[in-house]
């Protein structure tokens, strides 16, 4: 099953992890709220929504922007030729980070990633060990762990990696 937005006269937008996340974000975040019903896994929902949190003006944000500006390659298209160490740095950065867009998109990708892994596992259901690992992860994310403070998906991923 794929999430194809709508179905009708309008051509569907291109598919991709970004698009999948874009739709599922609505499923999580919107929709009718009925107070008389219990909302289960609420903490999990909060966690997933952290990825789209509102921008906060803070010293951390300022320093992150300063650092991001410092890292910019301003030489391209300008008069001064890039020097060798700069070129090396750029190549390394490009290789390591690709289209990195900052910590938060990282978290979104981690979330999308876990969704995609879910699908792969369904397809490759013969691959038991992998599936078992995923299921354990799923359980670990259930309320016991989530009862604690809100952690970003990224931190959680890192922690899980250490534990494994």
């Amino acid at each position: 099953m794929t999430v194809t937005p709508g179905g009708g006269a309008v051509p569907a937008p291109t598919q991709g992890s970004g698009n999948l996340y874009d739709v599922l974000e609505l499923v999580l975040d919107r929709g009718l709220v009925i107070d008389a019903f219990v909302r289960v896994s609420l903490v999990g929902i909060e966690l997933a929504k952290v990825d789209a949190r509102v921008v906060v003006a803070s010293v951390d944000t300022y320093l992150r922007f300063a650092e991001a500006c410092n890292r910019l390659d301003l030489e391209s298209g300008r008069k001064a030729p890039a020097q060798l160490p700069d070129v090396m740095e750029r190549v390394t950065e490009g290789g390591a980070k690709g289209k990195s867009k900052g910590a938060l998109s990282g978290a979104v990708e981690a979330f999308t990633d876990s969704l995609q892994k879910g699908r792969r596992d369904e397809i490759e259901s013969g691959e038991r060990p992998r599936r078992g690992k995923e299921e354990r992860r799923e359980r670990e994310r259930e309320p016991v762990e989530r009862g604690a403070e809100r952690r970003s998906s990224k931190e959680r991923e890192e922690r899980e990696e250490r534990e494994e």
């Binding site: 099953m1 999430v3 937005p5 709508g6 179905g7 009708g8 006269a9 309008v10 937008p13 970004g18 874009d22 739709v23 599922l24 609505l26 499923v27 999580l28 975040d29 919107r30 929709g31 009718l32 709220v33 009925i34 008389a36 019903f37 219990v38 909302r39 289960v40 896994s41 609420l42 999990g44 929902i45 966690l47 990825d51 789209a52 509102v54 921008v55 003006a57 010293v59 944000t61 300022y62 320093l63 992150r64 922007f65 300063a66 991001a68 500006c69 410092n70 910019l72 301003l74 867009k101 938060l104 998109s105 876990s114 969704l115 995609q116 879910g118 699908r119 369904e122 799923e138 994310r141």
Partner: protein, 237 residues
């Protein structure tokens, strides 16, 4: 037995649910709880509901089916009622309000527009266009400069980022507004500088999509608009 609740529809909705699976590992069967004038689509609440792809997609697939066959009010993900009586009580108590919403949503669809901007491209524009920022950037590169300079640089850049993105968001919403019946704007996040849902008359869907395409062409380099839809009216239920 507790019930996972998907959506509310009118009693006259065709409710073609046979080939759809409910949420949970066991893919429990969907069924209908009928009130006087309204229905609720439910399944047995699973023990293992999780905020992961499997269940989110199952929830979404039900909404898409209901919406393509008629009018429905999609519930948010994860609502569970104690039993059928609790569902019927909600249908009864909210009958007037829900009927009104359903009438308003008939023949309309939701489109969601998200804007993402490549950060490096934006920052490069900002640095190139402001003397003070460029000066501070040069002064603080490679670990040089004082913490105060670094902070000032960050503050100036953050303010520029925000004002440019706010202006872009306003431009996008203003361009689409004439085509829509209603709008629902989420506050900008680090991921999306604009995240807006629009309720659009079905007949105007194509025009709306075309306008988004035209709008994308007018936007500066590094800005991407992601259009999703037509969707069930998640943001207008």
């Amino acid at each position: 037995m507790s019930l996972y609740v998907y959506a509310i529809t009118k009693a006259s909705h065709p409710l073609r649910l046979d080939d759809l699976d409910g949420v949970g590992e066991s893919h429990s069967e969907l069924h209908v709880v009928r009130g006087d004038s309204l229905c609720a689509v439910v399944s047995e609440a699973p023990e293992d509901l999780s905020v992961a792809r499997r269940d989110l997609e199952a929830h979404h697939a039900v909404q898409e089916r209901l919406w393509s066959d008629g009018v429905s009010l999609p519930l948010g993900f994860g609502f569970v009622a104690q039993d059928e009586d609790a569902v019927r009580a909600v249908l009864e108590q909210g009958a007037e309000q829900y009927a009104q919403r359903l009438a308003e949503l008939a023949d309309r669809v939701e489109f969601n527009v998200k804007g993402v901007q490549d950060e490096d491209t934006l920052l490069r524009q900002i640095v190139e266009e402001s003397d003070r920022i460029r000066e501070l950037n040069e002064a603080t590169r490679e670990g040089r400069g004082s913490p105060e300079q670094r902070l000032e640089l960050g503050q100036l850049v953050a303010a520029e980022v925000q004002s440019r993105q706010d202006a872009l968001a306003a431009q996008i919403v203003a361009a689409l507004r004439p085509l829509v019946y209603a709008e629902s704007l989420s506050p900008p996040s680090e991921q999306y500088f604009v995240n807006a849902s629009f309720l659009v008359d079905r007949g105007k869907s194509e025009e709306f999509t075309d306008s988004c395409g035209e709008l994308t062409e007018q936007l500066p380099e590094g800005v991407e608009l992601r259009l999703q839809g037509p969707l069930p009216p998640y943001s207008f239920a």
